[in-house]
């Protein structure tokens, strides 16, 4: 691959189509405004749009070239302002392949190379499947035993790479066959997982947002419901409760079906595979994506069971990685907790951090959970009080709200306290958190690059602290809330031997 290479010629089919799609929507929207008065404009605009998108779509093939030379991936692109992107091979942290339906029909794949140094990805859209696989193999296994196995030299320091010239796309990917021998399958898709899809309410928020946008659009276009009045009479004629019930059930059914379909489209044919120190995740029904992260970049795992998922026996797993754009990395969709745990254990290489009992934080922490959760419900009572004051209403509603919410707050507090905890298991530290969701964050103790002991005034009175292990992976910190100060210090000391010793002193109890 030391020779300059071009994108696959078949991209000239996709380019114009996707450019057309990009042009089409904005121009249509613009034209709806103008065109409704003067339809002639449509006639003038149509050829322009088509010619323009063909031109723009063809450009990338002529202007984009790439090669691997001198230990660097070099990509040049652009027509007027030429851009030259270089990435040292030892800085390349992820190579992702993506193929839309159209790409798949043509046997193409889009390659995205992430360096983690800056947030931009180097994108090659598109290469043939074999070429893409080979490029990924070279980029990820350079220097390692894979390169030696493929009889290719370590691609650094020199520009001569004898093997790469002959391993052109036509030869197929030689490493593909070797890969089969070294692959270890961690998880494969099961359609029954779709039962967890309706329980992921995060997606519901997104769906509702989309619905809101659609509603706005419908309002803008002034689609008049001709039979709106009849419908309204029908609705007002029936009992309100019945109408609400029907609406609710309808919404539930729609949500269930939609979320399951979306789930299947996104995760279909999922395969999580370990291959020579790399994790590969492939998935997708129409658009297939294949992402790869180096295992040495993975510092830990976050296991999350939201309240609804837990009722259905499911959970989600994220890998905490360093130097990726998306540093908490969903390795699995919501799956049965058994699958989630075993995959997480495979990734960690250790089951103990996931199975170990968490050490609770004691009565003082429980009291703080109570205060916090009761206070978090206070706004409801305050709003009721304000409404009563403003509208001169009866005296009892604020009191009723307060009485009704107190048990809720106490329940939330119990739940939060039950999830709270910490543990040390071999080379991993474990932190439990979450109010309604149960979250267990596991981090390699090697991945801890500092500690913060933080104490609010209230925590100091109760002898508690919030311990934060700082790390380069995931959200860059793991927080253990309301841990007794003594526990915090000895925990941190044990997790990172040597780091705290110069600053330690015996506690009052010793």
């Amino acid at each position: 691959m030391s020779e300059w290479q071009r994108l696959d010629p078949k991209i000239m089919v996709i380019g114009p189509i996707s450019a057309f799609r990009q042009f089409l929507l904005p121009s249509l929207i613009a034209l709806i405004g103008v065109g409704t008065q003067q339809p002639r404009w449509l006639l003038y605009a149509a050829p322009l749009i088509i010619l323009g998108s063909v031109g723009v779509g063809l450009l990338p093939w002529f202007t984009t070239r790439f090669r691997i030379a001198g230990g660097q991936l070099v990509v040049t692109t652009g027509l007027v302002s030429r851009k030259r992107l270089t990435a040292p091979l030892d800085r390349i942290r992820s190579v992702d392949l993506e193929a839309s339906l159209l790409h798949r029909v043509l046997g193409l794949q889009k390659v995205e190379v992430g360096t983690g140094v800056d947030d931009s990805m180097i994108e090659l859209n598109a290469l043939s499947v074999a070429q893409a696989e080979q490029l990924r193999s070279v980029l990820l296994h350079r220097g390692a035993e894979a390169v030696r196995g493929g009889a290719a030299p370590v691609p650094d320091a020199t520009t001569t790479e004898p093997d790469n010239g002959e391993a052109a796309p036509g030869h197929g990917a030689p490493s593909g066959h070797e890969a089969a021998a070294t692959e270890q399958v961690l998880a494969t898709f099961s359609p029954s997982w779709a039962r967890f899809a309706p329980l992921s309410l995060g997606r519901l928020a997104i769906a509702l947002g989309a619905l809101g946008a659609l509603w706005q659009f419908v309002g803008d276009v002034h689609i008049s419901l001709a039979r709106g009045d009849e419908l309204w009479e029908l609705v007002t004629g029936a009992s309100l409760v019945l109408v609400l019930l029907v609406l609710l059930v309808g919404a539930l059914v729609v949500w269930t079906v939609l979320s399951m379909v979306a789930f299947l489209v996104q995760w279909w044919n999922l395969r999580l595979v370990r291959d020579r120190e790399n994790l590969h995740l492939t998935r997708g029904l129409f658009t297939t994506t294949s992402t790869t992260i180096e295992e040495r970049r993975i510092r830990g795992v976050r296991l999350r069971e939201t309240a609804l998922l837990r009722l259905a026996g499911g959970g989600e797993a994220h890998a905490l990685a360093t130097g990726l754009e998306e540093s908490t990395y969903a390795v699995l969709p919501p799956t049965p907790i058994g699958v989630t745990t075993s995959v997480a254990a495979d990734i960690l290489g250790d089951r103990a951090p996931l199975a170990t009992e968490l050490r609770p934080h004691g009565d003082a922490a429980l009291r703080r959970c109570r205060t916090r959760n009761l206070l978090s419900l206070l706004p409801f009572a305050v709003v009721t009080l304000a409404l009563v004051l403003v509208s001169d209403g009866p005296w009892w509603p604020p009191l009723a709200v307060a009485v009704a919410l107190t048990p809720v707050g106490l329940l939330l507090a119990r739940s939060e306290y039950a999830h709270l905890g910490h543990a040390l298991a071999h080379r991993h530290l474990v932190a439990g958190s979450g109010i309604t969701a149960r979250t267990r964050t596991v981090l390699q103790t090697d991945g801890v690059i500092g500690w913060v002991f933080s104490q609010t005034w209230f925590q100091r009175r109760r002898g508690l602290a919030t311990l934060t292990a700082t790390t380069a992976a995931g959200s860059e910190k793991v927080t253990i809330r309301d841990i007794p100060l003594g526990d915090a210090v000895s925990f941190a000391g044990a997790a990172t031997p040597g780091m705290l010793e110069p600053f330690g002193r015996a506690g009052p109890t010793e």
């Binding site: 690059i449 913060v452 000391g493 330690g504 002193r505």
Partner: protein, 175 residues
């Protein structure tokens, strides 16, 4: 303190609490903090005084606003510099930086020097007037930055030189 300490068995830590970092901030830092706090109080009082004169009827909510704004500022001006002076401490050992900061919420931060990525000094206009500087030590974690505030400018220079020397000897990408 600079002796390397051998790893301890996980279940037997030899200590249960952290001692204070060794060094205090410069006494001039307290003066600066007090100057800032008092200035804020005076400015707020002047603005609210002007409003008080301009609004003829002195309605009850104006009193509430005055109280809500001025009382916390007064509390800060009276207490914060002294408390901060007691809380703010720092220490640099050959192995780590250790600081304590804050006043209502306190934070003790430890960052091993082997994981340090950058060492910066910061000197705002007011800090220059008082001959002070702040040193920020960042690691690969956004949550892990350690700032030593209120250092004498000369001390800050010395600390930076020392830290640069120690950290430049380390290799790896500190993640």
């Amino acid at each position: 303190m600079s002796d390397p300490v051998e790893p301890l068995p996980a279940d037997k830590p030899r200590f249960a609490l952290l001692r204070e970092p060794a060094n205090q901030v410069s006494p001039r830092a307290v003066t600066m903090w007090r100057t800032i706090a008092v200035t804020e109080l005076v400015v707020a009082a002047l603005v609210l005084g002007a409003v008080w004169l301009l609004v003829p009827a002195h309605p009850w909510w104006l009193v509430v606003i005055c109280a809500v704004v001025l009382l916390p500022l007064a509390v800060v001006a009276i207490w914060q510099p002294g408390i901060s002076n007691r809380i703010h401490r720092w220490e640099v050992t050959p192995g780590a930086v250790y600081t304590r900061s804050g006043w209502i919420t306190t934070r003790q931060r430890i960052a091993p020097l082997s994981r340090v990525q950058t060492v910066d000094t910061r000197q705002g206009p007011l800090m220059r007037v008082y001959g002070l500087a702040a040193v920020t030590i960042t690691t690969a974690s956004a949550a892990g930055a350690v700032e030593i505030q209120g250092l004498d400018a000369d001390v800050a220079r010395r600390v930076v030189a020392e830290l640069t020397e120690i950290t430049s000897a380390d290799e790896g990408d500190a993640t």
